[in-house]
């Protein structure tokens, strides 16, 4: 081989190696170019994901509201409510966004007559009753559409799902693992692949989690069937069918897209809500009240804590 061809070879080598190296580096850093399939041929759903919708406010179609808690305005119409005291100071930052809804079919949730009353009652007592406000484990399916990101770590026979909210987690068993002998907040998840869809059967629930901030609830007879289907490398269709004969007259289904967080350095961050809700949960039991008064240029907010009598003190924590 002549000297000229050797030089040519070295030069071409340098260029090709550079290109290969760059493309490999890009693939490592850029999550959007991760392999579409895992080593065992399943869709690769590992990564950090997040919904971009209003399902946690209310699964059903709804228009925007003046605040998370409202009261009667000048008019008696529901559409003319004004923000109530707990959220008034937040202005437009306190508005509840509207939603096209995620309940499939007619958008209705098929409550029994008694359960429908309880749902309405829950909505009226949202601050006292929603487990989210107390930083309790979010349950399934609500964990998926909490506003914070969650992470999927997909192995062969186990898939770990890790949620920012409350540092919650669950293991999805794709092998045979019998359920726990007690009920749980996050359920017992057993998965299987149906083509390119991960189907997860979730059972062993308690009756303490909610489905959203609108008071939608379930009993300990809840059975959730989830379906995670990739619609592109960076989006999944999430579907959850909810069965609970103690609360609903028939199974019903919610569905929504879940999007991949594409930042190359994305990671779940601490969301220390046990710590941050202590004042909300225990502030009324302090020796001396701590949070009492706040004011802006046009408003003063005064807080008076009260201690429920007798056993009601403890019942509040289990609502």
């Amino acid at each position: 081989m002549s000297r000229r061809s050797l030089i040519a070879a070295v030069l071409i080598t340098a260029v090709v190696t550079a290109i290969v190296s760059v493309s490999m580096t890009t693939r490592l850093a850029g999550q959007s170019t991760r392999p579409a399939r895992t080593a065992d041929g399943k869709p690769n759903i590992s990564g950090v994901w997040q919904v971009n919708n209003e399902a946690n406010w209310d699964l059903q179609p709804h228009e925007a509201r003046a605040g998370a808690v409202t009261q009667r305005g000048i008019y008696g119409y529901a559409y003319a409510q004004v923000p109530a005291a707990p959220v008034l100071a937040l202005g437009a930052a306190g508005i509840v966004p509207g939603s096209i809804g995620v309940v499939q079919g007619d958008g209705q949730i098929p409550y029994t007559a008694d359960a429908a009353k309880r749902k309405a009652d829950n909505a009226a007592h949202w601050i006292d009753r929603d487990p989210e406000l107390k930083c309790y484990l979010p349950g399934i399916p609500r964990a998926t559409y909490m506003p914070q990101p969650f992470q999927i770590v997909q192995s062969g026979n186990k898939i770990q799902m890790i949620y920012t909210f409350s540092n919650a987690a669950r293991t999805i068993h794709l092998d045979t693992v019998a359920g726990p002998p007690d009920d749980t907040w996050m359920g017992h998840s057993v998965g299987r692949w149906d083509g390119d869809t991960l189907v997860v059967d979730v059972t062993h629930f308690n009756d303490k989690t909610w489905l959203d901030r609108a008071g939608n609830f379930h009993s300990d007879a809840l059975h959730v069937t989830e379906r995670f289907t990739p619609v592109s490398s960076d989006a999944l269709r999430y579907e959850a069918t909810i069965e609970d004969p103690k609360v609903f007259t028939r199974p019903w289904t919610i569905a929504m897209p879940v999007y991949r967080r594409l930042e190359p350095n994305i990671q779940l961050l601490d969301y220390p809500c046990i710590d941050f809700t202590e004042e909300f949960m225990y502030g009324h039991l302090r020796k001396q009240q701590l949070v009492k008064h706040w004011e802006s240029d046009t408003m003063a907010v005064d807080i008076t804590r009260k201690v429920p009598p007798g056993e009601q003190l403890f019942d509040w924590y289990g609502k």
């Binding site: 081989m1 061809s5 080593a39 601490d270 710590d275 949960m281």
Partner: protein, 390 residues
């Protein structure tokens, strides 16, 4: 010309192939043990793991020159350790101590004696290095405050070990002071949740941790570890293997910020960005860990961690632990961390103290400052020959 070009391209092909192979081949992948590689070729650390043996963190003074126990010594220690009542010992019926014992020995994990006399392997004497002058000062300031809050109690009147360095006297005016540092332990005061321990507040877990169970699930580029620790105070950790820098130093997290990479068969993890609200033996935001996780065989996961904080210890130190693989089915029983969801203890403790204060103010009860809600059940139930504890 064409032949020369083909020759040149052939050489290019070989060189590129060699370079790419060198780049892609995982270092130290020479002879992986069977079943210890994932489907995508990483070392497989997955499963449920725990240290099945009891090994003191620091080597007890009586074993100063001894690194390991013989099998006979372990058997004898097991016999002695099984023979004590621990928290099942009833002390004076109806006393505060006796009530504290309601959390009886059922709640304690008593494990067989391990082979080594300490988890600390460096320094070689098995002892945690001396605290810095600054850390000694912090510890003393903290201790003095705790003792002041305890001084009107029976614990100090009796001269119990829990009051060592303190004195018995009337309620201290320091009861109205804010704690000198963000409190993570039990103060003998319950003015609000901050006076109670991280355990009572369901935030007890810290990094590093040498107890409980780990469930490891991996994916390419990620290792997740669920820590089942502290009676429902478990937590979930995700270690990225992507080559990205640590979080901005302004971002502080309770369990730090983990960055991992493979060195041969070993997962090496660098942990920084700790929060001043988390406390590991006096180290807080300046804590820095380097962990090494190695699957040494199908049933053993070796864990070492080098612990460094120049504001706390005079030099770094290293702990080594061997964890044993646990059966998935037998360990399905519940690992959900729901301490907070069932925490009736904290509101009961606070409201109970408010009731005591009201009773005292009405002349119907003792001064709450004379009660001890801070120190633990002692060693009335016998001293564990290995750990020196109750």
């Amino acid at each position: 010309m064409r032949k020369r070009l083909l020759q040149a391209l052939g050489v290019v092909g070989v060189i590129v192939a060699v370079i790419v192979l060198l780049k892609v081949a995982p270092a130290g992948s020479a002879s992986p043990a069977p079943g210890t590689r994932t489907a995508w070729g990483d070392p497989d650390l997955q499963g449920i793991w725990t240290d099945e043996y009891q090994t003191p963190l620091q080597r007890p003074a009586k074993y100063a020159t001894k690194e390991t126990f013989t099998d006979e010594e372990r058997a004898e220690l097991d016999r002695q350790r099984a023979g004590i009542l621990r928290r099942d010992q009833r002390v004076e019926i109806g006393s505060e101590r006796d009530v504290a014992g309601a959390y009886n020995a059922v709640f304690q994990s008593i494990k067989h004696t391990g082979k080594r006399t300490s988890l600390v392997v460096d320094p070689p004497d098995g002892r945690i290095p001396a605290l810095t002058a600054e850390a000694r000062q912090r510890a003393d300031t903290d201790r003095q405050f705790r003792l002041a809050l305890l001084q009107a109690t029976q614990t100090c009147k009796d001269g119990d070990a829990a009051c060592a360095g303190g004195k018995f006297g009337p309620p201290s005016p320091r009861r109205n002071e804010v704690a000198p540092f963000y409190n993570t332990g039990r103060l003998n005061r319950s003015d609000g949740p901050e006076d109670r321990s991280m355990t009572e507040r369901c935030m007890a877990a810290v990094m590093p941790d040498f107890g409980g169970y780990r469930r490891i699930v991996q994916a390419p580029g990620t290792v997740s570890i669920f820590y089942d620790v502290g009676q429902g105070q478990g937590w979930q950790r995700v270690i990225t293997l992507e080559q990205v820098p640590h979080l901005a130093s302004s971002v502080r997290q309770r369990f730090g910020d983990s960055r991992g990479h493979w060195e041969g068969n070993t997962l090496v993890v660098d942990v920084t960005n700790f929060s001043p609200k988390s406390d590991f033996m006096g180290a807080r935001e300046n804590l820095h860990l380097v962990e090494r996780w190695t699957r040494s065989d199908a049933k053993t996961l070796e864990y070492t961690v080098t612990i460094e904080d120049p504001t706390t210890w005079t030099k770094s130190w290293t702990v080594k632990q061997e964890m044993n693989r646990q059966d998935d089915q037998a360990n399905r029983v519940y690992y959900e961390p729901r301490c907070h969801e069932g925490n009736y203890g904290l509101p009961a403790l606070l409201s109970g103290m408010r009731a005591d204060e009201a009773a005292f103010a009405a002349g119907k009860g003792p001064d709450p400052a004379t009660k001890d809600t801070a120190t633990d059940f002692g060693t009335e139930g016998g001293v564990d020959a290995l750990t020196g504890g109750g």
